[in-house]
Amino acid sequence: MPTPATDAADIQGLVRSGYGQLTAARFLLLRIADTVAARAWLEAAPVTSMAHLDTPQEGTLNIALTCEGLRALRLPEQALGGFSAEFLSGMAGDESRSRRLGDIGANAPDRWRWGTATHMPHLLLLLYATPERLQDWMRTVMAPPWDSAFTVLELLQTATLDQHEPFGFLDGVSQPTIDWTGKPDPAESAHETYSNLVATGEMLLGYPNEYGKYTDRPLLDPALDPAALLPPAEDHPERHDLGRNGCYLVFRQLQQDVGGFWRFLDNEVGGNAEARTRLAEAIVGRQISGAPLLPQTGGPIPGVGPDTDDIRQNSFTFDADADGLVCPLGAHIRRANPRNADLPPGTRGTLSRLLRDLGLVHQALRDDLISSTRFHRMLRRGRDYGVQMSPEAALRAPAAAEAGLHFICLNANISRQFEFVQGAWLAGIAFDGLTGERDPLTAPREGLPGGPPAGVFTMAQTSGLNRRIAGLPQFVTVRGGAYFFLPGLRALRWIAGVHG
């Protein structure tokens, strides 16, 4: 991982890895009971950095804070005001955000277990360990003055990691690759085809993003950081960068109705196990095994590989399947990452680009409807929870125990990345020319005010006539959520040390 050693020691380990080797995890949502004690605990907390991961770890700890948490630690207003508007307002902060994210009906924040009002966490602790070490590791982490510092709002369990999410699909298959080499190529010609590489600044604050710019973040007067704990900002060397090496962490607790999912599909195909699986795979856009529905396309994709599984699973785009005949247009992974480029397929060279830009080439009706993917990527770091069972077991069990996904993603710009993907693409009701359908896997089914419900899923067929399923029930329900800041380690120490 070609980053300077100072940065590697500063970046929290979660940015580099989802800790696949550490199959047990607990997520703690805390409220600060005593500011002084909380600060003391934070200063000494054994937080795992990227550099630590050069050697195998038995337990890791990462820490993130909500806006309320930063307030409780009495962060100066100047520092707070530098965070993004979404972070300051919060995931459930206003109705219009909830509307956009699909947090309506059964998903509405007033039904959440946590993430609003008195159930708003201040801190999120992410603990990972091997199953046998987990209890020990928790005890180590909860060292004094833990008891006086915090009250535990939720202790979120996770299932032992088996790479499969509760519906049974292989998970964690596709991730963007951070390009640590520096500035992205500003040439438009560099973005004529899909790339899985993203600028460092898309995931971490303090680095250039895909626009070649620095995402807004709190930059401090040197007076606020007399010990010069924080590095100078690359774009404003006279200011100290509280954001550098940090990012935003989006957490959503998503309950999955595993029984409901498989029963609905089973009923839809008249009990044929094979057809049931095919339908589930069409909804997700991948096979249960993680294999793509589409064949490998063209040459290698930058940022895919060298891992052979990655090459097998991710060397494809949807260019050759513009009508969704192989992978439905509305499939989950096609919505979540349309794998397109800045320009529609086939645009090559300056003249062709110019004609495109001016809109002077013939465009088919459905051409160019989706925004360029590279501005809307995120690192997913979720873990699932609850009882895991096979589709057959789920079909038989009438009222199974709760299962779901603790969805976690990292990004530098919540509104352009997580909120865009969630709002415009997953919960969006008009994605890629579809009408009246949202993500068949994860979205709510409410229609527009006064309109019909959005429980439709369309699968285009080579023979012509669409296969269309109506009346999809909601399979995933939001149970809680919040926006967190995952600071660099120096920033965390500065936050712990501020005296207001």
Binding site: L360, L369, S371, L448, N466
Partner: protein
């Protein structure tokens, strides 16, 4: 073919009674900012020729204390002639309009409503129509057609998929014919184009071409001087892009995303001096020629999601108003702006005070993503009342529905065309 027109009535507001006006405007809405089509004041839904309409208070939010008194603007997009539509409005809802315009300084109880509206009619410098000639009636009929076809297919899902595509199409055609017979569907043929429209359009295109040709030598000669001056200004013009206030963002958010489409209204100062003003006059004239003659079939350059848009000079060219109706959330709209037509936006908006730095009018600018978004949001107005005649439908939906209708009305189709048609339904 019935061409579309913009109308806009704009007059200085009596600011002392603003709060009262805002209350009145709220009474016209069902959800925040969304017009109730049957509201008692101006029942927009009763006007079959009306695509979009809005009432918005124009104030220069970024100007601070120097801001002039705000305007009250009522604008929209209709089928046929704009002035004729003002007549229709004045005739059919005089009382509601009087109540609303009564908050303007120079509107008296005895004022002749129609004449007053005509006196305050403000034409756009540039006007964009997504699909020239597509009427509200056509939109609604074609939406009903698709809905009927989808329902028919669902009803016959057990047998139809086994049929060859041509057989399916034949059945759909027969079904539509029966529905039309029974009066449940109608597909009205386009009315004839108003006399002279075609000719005027051709003359306009020719006129623009000739004018550009005649101006070309002067433009070319002047270009080096122009560019030198432009670069001087671009280097020295200040960027003013502080973050928008949280309360302003919340007010804007509250009226957004109730439908697949949204409205956008922004208002700001043009940079002082004749240089920027004449640059704008020229550019908006050229852009208007392209929207009138080139971008008339579903896309503004690369952008497929704008239904109607306009730029309007106000206050003798000191300020510019931009209004549009677009699909998706503001985030995806800005994404299109930045990644698909930054050059076009820069051309126009870089003449506005505080815009992010451009190079040679087209480079940079909107590509400075966050500054651009702050700039836009800070100048964006909270539209009080917004009406859309076809909720739930995107510009893409409208184009697709027209294509479906064309396929139903087509005499013959190849096997491949038939399959593509079925995929659209």
């Amino acid at each position: 073919m019935t061409p579309q027109s913009a109308f806009m009535v704009c007059a200085t507001l009596d600011s002392t009674r603003r709060a009262e006006l805002e209350q009145l405007l709220t009474s016209m809405t069902s959800l925040p900012g969304q017009a109730d089509p049957a509201n008692a004041l101006i029942p927009f839904g009763a006007f079959e020729r009306l695509h979009f309409a809005r009432i918005v208070i124009l104030e220069d939010l970024a100007a601070g204390a120097e801001a002039p008194p705000p305007y009250l603007a009522f604008l929209g997009d209709c089928d046929g002639d704009g002035d004729a539509f003002l007549h229709e409005l004045a005739e059919r809802t005089p009382d509601g309009l009087r109540r609303v315009f009564g908050y303007c300084r120079d509107f008296q109880p005895g004022t002749n409503l129609l004449r007053w509206m005509q006196d305050h009619a403000t034409p756009p410098a540039t006007y964009y129509v997504n699909w020239v000639g597509r009427t509200v009636r056509q939109v609604r009929e074609e939406a009903a057609l698709r809905a009927a076809l989808v329902a028919y297919l669902r009803e016959h899902a057990a047998v139809l998929p086994q049929q060859p595509p041509r057989e399916i199409r034949a059945r759909l055609i027969a079904f539509v014919a029966a529905e039309r017979q029974a009066g449940r569907l109608s597909l009205t043929q386009p009315t004839s184009t108003p006399p002279g429209w075609q000719l005027r359009n051709i003359l306009h295109a020719a006129g623009v071409a000739l004018a550009l040709l005649a101006l070309a030598p002067f433009l070319l000669l002047g270009l080096p001087f122009y560019l030198i001056r432009l670069r001087q200004l671009e280097r020295s013009d200040a960027e003013i892009t502080p973050r928008p206030a949280a309360a302003h963002l919340a007010a804007l958010g509250a009226i957004e995303d109730h439908d697949v489409s949204n409205q956008f209204s922004a208002y700001g100062s043009i940079k002082p001096g004749r240089f920027r003003y004449w640059t704008l006059v020229f550019l908006l004239w050229v852009v208007n020629a392209t929207t009138r003659h080139i971008y008339t079939r579903g896309r503004l350059a690369r952008v497929p999601s704008i239904h109607f848009a306009r730029w309007v000079f106000l206050e003798g060219g000191r300020r510019l108003f931009f209004a549009s109706n677009y699909d998706g959330s503001l985030d995806s709209y800005m994404d299109d702006f930045i990644n698909k037509v930054a050059w076009g936006l820069n051309l126009v908006f870089s003449n506005g005070v505080g815009y992010p730095k451009t190079n040679f009018l087209i480079l940079g600018g909107a590509k400075d993503e966050q500054k651009f978004k702050y700039y836009i949001r800070r100048r964006q107005l909270v539209t009080s009342v917004w009406y859309k005649a076809y909720p739930g439908l995107t510009a893409y939906d409208l184009a697709r529905n027209s294509a479906i209708r064309a396929a139903i009305e087509a005499s013959a189709m190849t096997e491949a065309e038939t399959r593509r048609f079925l995929q659209m339904v």
